[in-house]
Symmetry: C2
Subunit: 586 residues, 2 copies
Amino acid sequence: MLKQPIKLLSGAFPIVQWLPKYTIQKAVCDLIAGITVGLTLIPQSIAYAALAGLGPEYGLYSSLCGGFIYTIFGTVKDLNVAPTALISLLTFTYTHDSSFGQPQSAILLCFLSGIIETGFGLLHLGFLVDFVSTPVVAGFTSAGALTIAAAQIKNMLGLNFKAETFVKIMYNVFYHIKETSLWDAALSIICCCSLIMLREMKRFGNPNTDNIWKTSVWFLSVSRNALLVIICAFTAFLLKKHDLTPFSLIKNVPQGLPPIQLPFIISNGTETFNFIDVTSDLGTGIIVVPLVSILSNIAIAKAFADGKVLDASQEMLAVGLCNIFGSFFGSFPINASFSRAAVNNASGARTTFGGIFTGILVMFALTFLTPYFSYIPKATLSSVIICAVIYMVELKLSRLIWRINRIDFFPLLVTLVACLVLSIEIGIVIGIVVDLLLVLYYTSRPKIETEIIKHEKNFQYMKVVLVGTLFYSAAEFTRDKVLKMITSDSKFLVFDCANLRKIDFTAAKCIDALIKDLNEWKPLVVFLRPKTEIDFILRKAITDANCYFIKNDNELDTLFDEKANSGYELTSVCANEAYENDDEKL
Amino acid sequence: MLKQPIKLLSGAFPIVQWLPKYTIQKAVCDLIAGITVGLTLIPQSIAYAALAGLGPEYGLYSSLCGGFIYTIFGTVKDLNVAPTALISLLTFTYTHDSSFGQPQSAILLCFLSGIIETGFGLLHLGFLVDFVSTPVVAGFTSAGALTIAAAQIKNMLGLNFKAETFVKIMYNVFYHIKETSLWDAALSIICCCSLIMLREMKRFGNPNTDNIWKTSVWFLSVSRNALLVIICAFTAFLLKKHDLTPFSLIKNVPQGLPPIQLPFIISNGTETFNFIDVTSDLGTGIIVVPLVSILSNIAIAKAFADGKVLDASQEMLAVGLCNIFGSFFGSFPINASFSRAAVNNASGARTTFGGIFTGILVMFALTFLTPYFSYIPKATLSSVIICAVIYMVELKLSRLIWRINRIDFFPLLVTLVACLVLSIEIGIVIGIVVDLLLVLYYTSRPKIETEIIKHEKNFQYMKVVLVGTLFYSAAEFTRDKVLKMITSDSKFLVFDCANLRKIDFTAAKCIDALIKDLNEWKPLVVFLRPKTEIDFILRKAITDANCYFIKNDNELDTLFDEKANSGYELTSVCANEAYENDDEKL
C-alpha cells in the first residue's frame, strides 16, 4: 500500500531513499568529509565573495543553506552547493553596475536563478545543456579562469582601477604597474608559492591508509587554504599589535547569522523599488547565470555519478532550491564546485549528509570567528583564488582537442577569444552559436558514399548509401551530388536505406525531383531495405512510376536477373500518389 | 589556344555557349515565346506596381531590363526576370513608410538587392537557401498569397483604409464593408469569373499541335490578362465618351522610356540625402528581399533546369545584375516568376533570347500604348492579381505534407500563422528558426538501435549501431540510452561503426565516459569496422584499456572465441593516450 507514495516521495526527496538505512558508521565518514569540505569552503567563500564584489560575510551566508537543502534534494553524494569562481565572476558582471545597490541585486539574482533552475528541473529542460559542447565549455572555463586571474593580479599588486574584460584588465595592469604596493605583492608571491607547494604535496599523501603521516600530509594539502588564511591573519594580527599594517586587510565582518529577508523586495531604506524594474536591471544575467550554473552542475554531477544514470532534472531542482532558500539568507548565486566535490569524495563521504556538517561549521564560523576575519590580508585571498583558478585553464584538454580533431578546436578558440576580448557572458553565447552552425553545416553536407558496381550479368549500377537522418538542409546537396556522380551507363540507381533512420518531406520530394532529373537515360531506381516509416514517406512523395521498393538483397538479385533477361524494360511495382502541382501554376 | 578563355567566358556569360549555334529557326521559336510572355507580363507588371505602392509606369520600367540582361547571363532558357507578386508585396512592406519617398526608396532597394544577390553569387553562398525547407516555403508563399489577395479585396470593393497584415486587412474589410463601391465590386466579380474561366479553358487547348483551334484556345487562355485589360479599358473609354466614369481608373501613365538615373543618389528635389541614412531606413529589407528573391529564383530555376545540375551561383549573379541594371532605369526589385517561366516553356522557348523580344514589346508599350493605360480600371488589375495569387496558396502541397509527415506540417503552420498575424517578413524568419530547431532536435535525439545478441558459445552481447554523424548534442543522450539498455549479463558491448561517418571530440569523450560508467561489470567494448578517421579519434579519446578495434566480422568472431575460451579475461589491444585531467582538479 505504501510503496507507491514512497516511490513518488523518493523521486522528489532522494533523502527518503537513504536515510532509513543511515548508520553511525556512515555518519562518522560524513562528519569527517563534511568538516574537510568546510575547511576548503570557508576561505574560498570569503574570497569568492570579494570576486563577486561583495563583503566577506556574504560568502559565508552563501555557504550556509546549500548543504542543508542539498542533503534533502540532491542525488550525488559528493556535491557541495556554495559559491564558485565562475558564478561569482558572472554575479559581479551582472550586478556591480546595478542601480539598486549590490548586495540586494546579487541576492535577487540568486533568487531568480533558483526559480529558473527549479523551473528547468520541473520541465525536464536539462537536455538544453547538451547543446554546449566540451570545446565550448573548455574555452569558456579557460577564459573565465584567465579573467578571474587577471582581476586577482590587480588585487595582489594592490592596484586600483576599473576594468572587466581580460584584455582591458591586463592593459591596465601594465599601465598602472608603477603604483604596485610592494608589501602586498611580496605577500602574494609567498602565498602563491606556498599554496602551489602544498597542493603538489598531495601526491605524497593518501587519505585512505593507516599510515598517519600520509593521512596528515593529505589533510594538510587539502586544507591548505584554511591553513594559509589562518597563518596570514595571525601574522597581520601580530603586526597590528605593533602598530604595523603593511598589508591591505579585508573589511570588518558583521558577527552572527544572516538576517532572514525577502529577496524580491528591494529597497534602499527610504523607497521600495518595483520588482519588474529591478529584474530588467539584471538583464540577460537572469538567463546566463542559471544556464551556466546548470551546465557546470550537470557536468560535475555526471563526473561523480559513478556510472549511475544521472537524474539531471532532480539535480537542477536541487540546485535551484539551494539558490531559492539561500536568497532568503543573503546568498548570492551558488553552485556545485568540482574541487569541493573532489575533496568530499576523497575524504570518504558516504551520503549527502556531510553537507549538514559543513553547514554547521559555517554557522560556527559566522558566530565565533568573524572578529578575527578582519585580519585576513586581501592579497592572501587573491592568492587563494588564483591558485584555484589557474588549474581551470584547460591546457591539457585544449591540446588533446587540437591533436584529435582540429575542427573541434575552432569553437574552443572562438569562445576563448570572444570571452577574453568582448566579455565572458557574450563569449559563451557566440561560442554556442558557432558550434550550432557547425552542426547545421555538417548535417547539411553529409558524406555521401556512392559506388559503381559491376554486376556479373554484365551491366553496372550505382549504389548510394543513405545513413542517419536526411533532412531538408541536406536534400539539394544530396540531389546535386548524385546527379553529378551517376553515369549514363548505369542501369540501376540503388539507394541503400538500411541505415536511414529519418527523412523529412523536403528530402523525399528532392529524391523525387532527382528521379525526374534522371529521365533522360532512365535508370531504374531501387530503394533497398527502407524501414517502415521511410518506406511510407518515400512511396507517398515519389510520383515517378520508375522505381522499386526492395526488402532484401535476394529480392534485389531477382530484380536484376529479371530486368537483365527482359532487356531492362520498365514495369513498375511502385504505389504512387499522383501529385502534379507544377502544371497548374501556369 | 582559344579554348581556355572561351571556357572562362562561357562560365560568366552563358550566352557565349549558345549564341554561335543560334539559328533562324530557334529565333522564330524565341520570338513567339517572347511575345507570349510579354502579353502576360505587361498587365501583370502594371498590377504588381500597384501592389508595391507605385505608379503603373514603374511596373513597365521594371520589366524592361530583365529580359536583356538575363539573355546574356542566365542559364535557364525559360526564366523571365520582372516584377513578381511576393517581391512586390515585400517592396511595399519595406518602402511605403520610407521617409525618402517611395519610387526612390523602392529603386534603391532594387539596387541594393541586386548588389547582395550578385555578392551571394560571386561568394557561392547559394547553399544558404538549402536551410529553408519546402514546408516553410509553402507556408510563406501561401501567407503571401493570402495577404496579397486580402489587399486586393480591399481594392476590388473600392474601400479605403490602411492596414498591412492579413488579419488586420480582413478585419478592416469587414469593418468598412458598408462603404463598398458597387460598380467596382461588380466589375471585379465579372473580371475574376472571366479570368478563372479563361484559365480553366487551357486544358482544352494545346500549343504544340497543328490544330489551329486548340492552339488559339491555348493562346487565348495564356494571354487572358492582356485580353481582359484591353476589353475593360476599352469599355471604360467608351463610357467616358458618354461622360460616365463608374469605375475608379488608374493614374495617368507618363509616356516614353524611363530616364536613366543613379539609384544610390536620393534627393527630394531640394536636398540630397545621405546614402547611409537612406539605407538604414530600408532596415532588414536589404537582407530579406534578396534572400526571398534568391530562394524563389533557385526553386524556379531548378524546376525548369531539365535534369541538368543548376549553376546556382551563376543564376544568383544573373538575377542580381538584372536588379542592378534595372535600378538605373527606375525598376523596383524584380525576380523570376513561375507562371511566366511556365508560359515561356509551353510557348516553345529555345534559348534565353526570348527575353530580348519581351523587352522590345515592353519598350513598344511604353512608347505607344501609355495614353490608353489611364483607362484601365483598378478593379481589373486587382482581379488580375487575385487570380494569379490564389493559385499560390499551397493547398495541395499542404495536404500532401500533412498526409506524409505531420511533423513537417508544424513549421508550415508556424510560418503561415506568423506571416498572417505578425507580418510576412517576420513570419519567414520565425519559420526558418523553428525549422532549424527541429533539425537540431533530431540530430541531438537520434534513434539508437541496440540489439541483445545471443552468441552460439553460450554468452550474450549488446550491439549498438551508430550511423551518420555523432555530435556533441547527441553525445550525452547516446550515453544515457546505452547505459539504460545494457544488461549486466552482456559480456560484450559492440559499437557497429560501419556507417558512422563523423564523430566529434565531445561525443568521443562521452563514449569514453560511458566505458568508465560500465566499470562495475566490465563488459568488453568493441568498435566494429570504424572508418580511418573515426578510428583515429576514438583511439585518442578513449583512455580505458578495456576495448578493441575490430576491422571485420570474422575478426569479431575470432575475438569472441578467444575470450570465451579464456573465460573473458582482459588483455587490451587498444592504443591509449593517458588523459587524466580530472584527478588534478582537486
